[in-house]
Symmetry: C2
Subunit: 212 residues, 2 copies
């Protein structure tokens, strides 16, 4: 049962979410005050108190920038609770303590949206082995519109999706996609080539590595 929430309270919650997602840490009352376009920080405090009473957020008294969004808050927003969620686990007294054991069973899954613009997918093929991205690795892809030469990108060429290195030069052929494996060929830009996003990070053997 999702608790009722007023328009204004939802506005505040959405502003809070946006701030955290875009900066990596929560805002001050003052910053929220500006975004809500009110002139007193007391107004913000009042609204926050209501969200807290409804268990959508949690504050730590007299600590700067310590507002966190609780699971219920993410539910109202319809957003994944991944980022700050781990910190915001609402306390629950365990009735029972049970040992867990064994290895994780690998189940099948498809590409998944993790945040607004971030996707997780699995690499198939060996066209990027020289960049340390191998068949079966998982990569984190961020959907974006601007790219720099050298970015590893997820590209759609016709109907096919692929991961290549994007190169932009000031002489012909100007723009092309370079596989990091000599056995594959360069793909030049035509109207069939669209860049979907940038590969941010690779998961291999349980370790994440950044893509420069």
């Amino acid at each position: 049962m999702v608790s009722s929430i007023t328009e204004r309270q939802k506005e505040l919650l959405e502003n809070l979410y946006r701030y955290i997602i875009s900066t990596g840490y929560p805002p001050t009352f003052e910053e929220l005050r500006e975004q809500l376009n009110v002139s007193s920080n007391q107004s913000v405090i009042d609204l926050l108190a209501k969200l807290e009473k409804k268990k959508l957020i949690k504050r730590n008294e007299s600590q700067a920038r310590s507002i966190t969004i609780l699971p219920l808050g993410y539910e109202v927003l319809g957003k994944p609770p991944i980022a700050p969620f781990l910190g915001a686990t609402s306390a629950g007294v365990p009735l029972q303590a049970i040992e867990i054991s064994g290895e994780w069973q690998i189940l099948s899954s498809q590409v998944a949206m993790l945040q607004d613009n971030v996707f997780l997918l699995q690499i198939s093929g060996d066209s990027m082995i020289n960049a340390g991205i191998d068949d079966g690795d998982k990569v984190l892809v961020k959907s974006q519109k601007e790219f720099v030469s050298g970015d590893v990108v997820l590209a759609k060429v016709g109907d096919e999706s692929m991961v290549k290195r994007f190169i932009s030069e000031d002489k012909p052929p100007y723009l092309y996609l370079k596989p990091e494996n000599p056995k594959y060929e360069i793909i030049y830009f035509t109207e069939d080539v669209v860049l979907e996003g940038k590969v941010i990070s690779v998961l291999k053997n349980g370790q994440w590595r950044m893509i420069s």
Copy 2:
């Protein structure tokens, strides 16, 4: 190329990471000072300055709790950059602006570790339909050891992994797993049953919903 980092600097970085992951927001200098067991906050400032020079973290001057870990920092830690990463994108001037278009191509992927104890997997079967978890949905599972009655859990029964509701009562049969679909049967606890983790959230139609 991972920049060289001293033991002490790595200690600081690890403390920073732990704090952010467990609270949802960055620590103050004072809190880091305590964790590093030094008596002057200047010591912390010095170390932070070095991490910042090496582009492992980023600070915002004169803002409380505004330290974020940069991609390079996550690489040194070997941790996924999911949570605070989106906020900590290091600036990069775009050489080229290219429109992206089209829908996301669905590629195949397997279960993936997102954080230390958080996994993403896809549900197969209809045993939880009454709990709003359907075949093909993706769920976020947190590996943990303590559960409360009513939790939706990922359980391993013999060789098989399944998602059920965990029930603990003070009268026989005490402990059992209850499918949220009357067409399946209750599973009583034996030594073959181990609980792997708790289902935190479900992804359905691009929207995340919390599991109570």
